[in-house]
């Protein structure tokens, strides 16, 4: 049988292939050490962009920065009131322009180095340095000389020398930091508590930059190399999988930190995140819960949507006819039936938005401007000579532009239908993949375009600044001199009541002119284990991880007995005895 294949060879080949495959699997696992469940595990979505606090903007990144770093001041997770961080006290000069912080004496880095005012001076200047490419750099431009330092230009556009010594950030001594503002800025304090304005460890960073000018960025955030000053420090990083944090025993308030380990899992699919949560692998999931699951979750005690400082709206391209006419924009805004839309599509208790700034934004109350009335909307069009628009061909079909997503499509379909019914208007849908969508929006290549805006801090300035002329987030072509003046005046107004009035007047103009049509105000959608204590349910959905702890069964029972909410109990995955901080249990550190 000379032409027949050698059977032993074939069998050998087959057996080797199968064994090699199996071996490869086992080898891949053998290379990874097993990971124990952390005291607390949560997810905010996919892999983080960076662990460099000066290089990130996103909400999930902000969460992690609060684990790793601490700024001069923090925010109370319940009330959002400013509370001491690395600074133990501070005072304003009489003219409101100079702010002097006294740092606590026991502030230290995770490697034991003392944390001084010089660290803050260097770190804040790093934020302003163009090479750092910090996306929040412009927020610090309220500091004297800061804009000039970043851009090499004065506010009026004339060029000047970039000089770090002229920036109003000075360490007077080891424990005294002085910030000099260009103008009195009431919202500066709220701004300072952002997760971006934290110190980074100069010595380790500069050493790496000198040694590896090209690749330092990929080296200094590695576990072991990263030196931080927050309640936790990085102990492990598996890309696309997990970030493991351990309690930073060098942290000045470590005795009050309960969790010993925290895991931040990278989970891209929300359905999977939900599955992991239900299986007890995650203790907190926050983000886009699929709307189809919301009704089922609403009855559970671990899901309680709360008002959240964010607004979902449609940008209106005011450079295009017929949207350049205010009457048309107002007709669109007043003929939308937002309540129906919230109940039909969103279901988690989102609030119809008749103002751009959400209610509960600090002590600001948005003015009442327009209401919902299809009759009024029709009258507006009639008065403008555009009634029966379609029949007379005066109003062309409009295009509603949104980024590809099921929810955005559902909302757009309902809105288009409402406009068709109320105004006999032909609204066509156009969806685009995210980056192409942003590109088109930036180029004003749209009629109406979906958008959202989430506050950085609980202040109307966080919402209203973007509508000033030429602001990079305006993207509608709208410009109003009177609006700009009011915002400029509010920026430096030190009397809280007068400041609120200025913002309210500005918002009145905005909601009269309507370059944006507000649709709804967000709610936070935290799914959090009922056993978690110290969790911040607030309007910014912001957390201070140092306060998290596990309730004991007894405490959980007590909390439940006090709750007035009729909700189905769910099992807590926390330890029966709870997990309290060393200070609370009286344990030696």
């Amino acid at each position: 049988m000379p032409s027949l294949p050698s059977t032993s060879g074939a069998r050998l080949a087959l057996a080797t292939t199968l064994l090699a495959l199996l071996g490869l699997c086992l080898a891949a696992f053998a290379l990874r050490s097993a990971r124990r469940r952390a005291d607390f595990a949560f997810t905010g979505g996919g892999e983080l962009r960076s662990l460099d606090p000066h290089a990130v903007t996103g909400v999930p990144e902000g969460r992690v920065m609060r684990l790793l770093y601490e700024g001069l001041v923090g925010r109370n997770p319940k009330t959002l009131a400013v509370e001491p961080g690395v600074a133990e006290s501070w005072k304003f000069s009489p003219d409101g322009k100079t702010l002097t912080f006294t740092l606590r004496a026991d502030a230290r880095w995770s490697n034991g180095d003392p944390l001084t005012a010089h660290d803050f001076e260097w770190s804040f200047r790093r934020i302003l340095e163009p090479a750092t490419a910090c996306e929040y750099a412009s927020s610090l431009w309220v500091i004297d000389g800061a804009r000039e330092f970043t851009t090499g230009q004065r506010a009026d556009g004339s060029s000047c020398e970039r000089d770090g010594s002229k920036v109003g950030i000075k360490a007077r001594d080891e424990r005294t930091l002085e910030l000099r503002l260009a103008q009195p800025t009431p919202h500066f304090f709220a701004l300072l508590s952002l997760h971006v304005f934290v110190p980074v460890h100069r010595a380790s960073l500069e050493a790496l930059m000198a040694e590896h000018p090209q690749t330092w960025a990929t080296r200094w955030t590695r576990p072991g190399a990263l030196v931080s000053n927050g309640p936790f420090r990085l102990s492990e990083r598996r890309i696309g999988e997990v970030l493991r944090f351990e309690r930073n025993e060098q942290y000045w308030d470590a005795r009050n930190v309960a969790m010993r380990t925290v895991d931040v899992l990278s989970v891209e699919s929300w359905t999977s995140a939900l599955n992991l949560y239900l299986a007890g692998e995650l203790d907190w999931v926050d983000g886009a819960i699929p709307t189809s699951l919301v009704p089922e979750l609403l009855g559970r005690e671990d899901f309680e949507p709360r008002p959240y400082l964010g607004v979902y709206f449609y940008r209106v391209n005011v450079t295009r006819a017929p949207l350049d006419r205010r009457e048309v924009r107002a007709a669109l805004a007043t003929s939308l039936q937002r309540k129906e839309l919230c109940q039909l599509v969103l279901k988690a208790g989102q609030q119809p938005a008749l103002s751009f700034v959400p209610p509960l934004t600090g002590d600001y109350r948005p003015p009442k401007t327009f209401g919902e009335s299809p009759e009024y909307a029709r009258k507006l069009l009639a008065d403008a000579g555009l009634a029966g628009a379609k029949a007379t061909g005066k109003l062309r079909p409009l295009e509603l532009h949104f980024n590809t997503s099921e929810v955005h499509r559902d909302i757009a379909e309902v809105a288009a239908e409402q406009w068709r019914k109320a105004l006999d208007l032909d609204v066509r849908l156009r969806n685009q993949e995210w980056k192409s969508f942003l590109d088109a929006q930036g180029k004003l290549d749209y009629d109406l375009s979906r958008s959202s805006w989430i506050a950085d801090y609980a202040d109307p300035s966080s919402f209203l600044e973007i509508w000033t002329t030429g602001h990079e987030n305006n993207r509608t072509g709208w410009s109003n001199r009177q609006y700009d003046d009011l915002i400029a005046a509010a920026r430096i107004e030190r009397d809280p009541a007068r400041r609120r009035d200025l913002y309210a007047n500005a918002e009145r103009i905005l909601m009269h002119e309507l370059p944006c049509i507000p649709v709804y105000h967000y709610v936070s959608q935290n799914l959090v284990d009922p056993g978690v204590g110290g969790f911040g349910q607030n309007a910014l959905n912001e957390q201070s991880p140092k306060y998290w702890y596990w309730r004991s069964d007894a405490e959980l029972a007590e909390v439940r007995s006090k709750s007035t909410r009729a909700a189905r109990k769910v099992e807590s995955h926390g330890p029966a005895a709870g997990l309290y901080s060393p200070a609370r249990t009286g344990a030696a550190q």
Binding site: L18, L21, S272, N275, W434, N473
Partner: protein
Amino acid sequence: MRRFLLRRALWFALTVWAVVTISFVLMRNVPGGPFSAERKLHPTVEAAVNARYHLDWPAWRQYLQTLGPLNLDEHGVFGDRSDVFGGILALDLGPSLQHRDVSVNELVAQSLPVSAALGAAALFWALLLGIGGGLVSALRPGTALDTLARVLSTLGLSLPNFIVASLLVLALAVAVPLFPVAGWGSFSHLVLPSFALGAPFGAYVARLFRAGLLETLSQDYVRTARAKGVPAHQVVLRHALPGALVPVISFLGTAAAGILTGSLVIERIFTIPGTGSHFVAGALNRDYALAMGVTLVYTVAVYGLNLLVDLAYAVIDPRVDLEKEA
């Protein structure tokens, strides 16, 4: 053999160059950039970020830097000594634009073993189910067992892997919690995703193998062996099996490519830190470096696997002469 390998190496170089060039042109011409976001950057800051990643350079210069191995930035042609030179020819895929802390090399190095393990396990399932099912079918043609195996394979072929995955999670992770719902780290994490990924290919292998085996079993040399009184299991294992495996092996190249590209869906459903998710994220986020890197890795993987398949032909079937190929 040597001429065969040499020719393949030349084609390989050409393929990689074409893939790099086409990817580069495509990526730079889709709208939107790596740093566009809902919250738009201040122009000064945007210019600084672009400069950091050389996106302010003219396209030809960016292309040369991507290709390497000479470094064109301020660190000089030969780079600084502590770091590798940039570019694909220097095996440096550059920094990721989206994940600032990691280089594309690191992303690939961390994720590729994971995807390889998943793919290998899936291939294992595919062969196990395919050869097992095919064997049962072919040895008992026309029986209920054969019908069952064929129905199952038709079902496996027509169900997309994400449906199989969701059903598996429902049945074996939620209803009966035998396996974790998602995640990575232990052997039990591997079972469901690799099965979901491998099953559709197993269904195809089963059909191929059944047909191949039935055909070889009717060949003259098999009949001769039977007539000589060789025991039935020996006839199948020694005489029929190798011939029936040839179509299966030729399918393995396609299957491996399919498993590679199919893994991105499975990786997402089971939150597995593999290369597939980087492939999608790289493209969606306009992370030019990452998208290029993963595309290259896939090119190399598919090319390499096909080479292995060709070599396997020669081992199994001596009639194949690699020197005369093409």
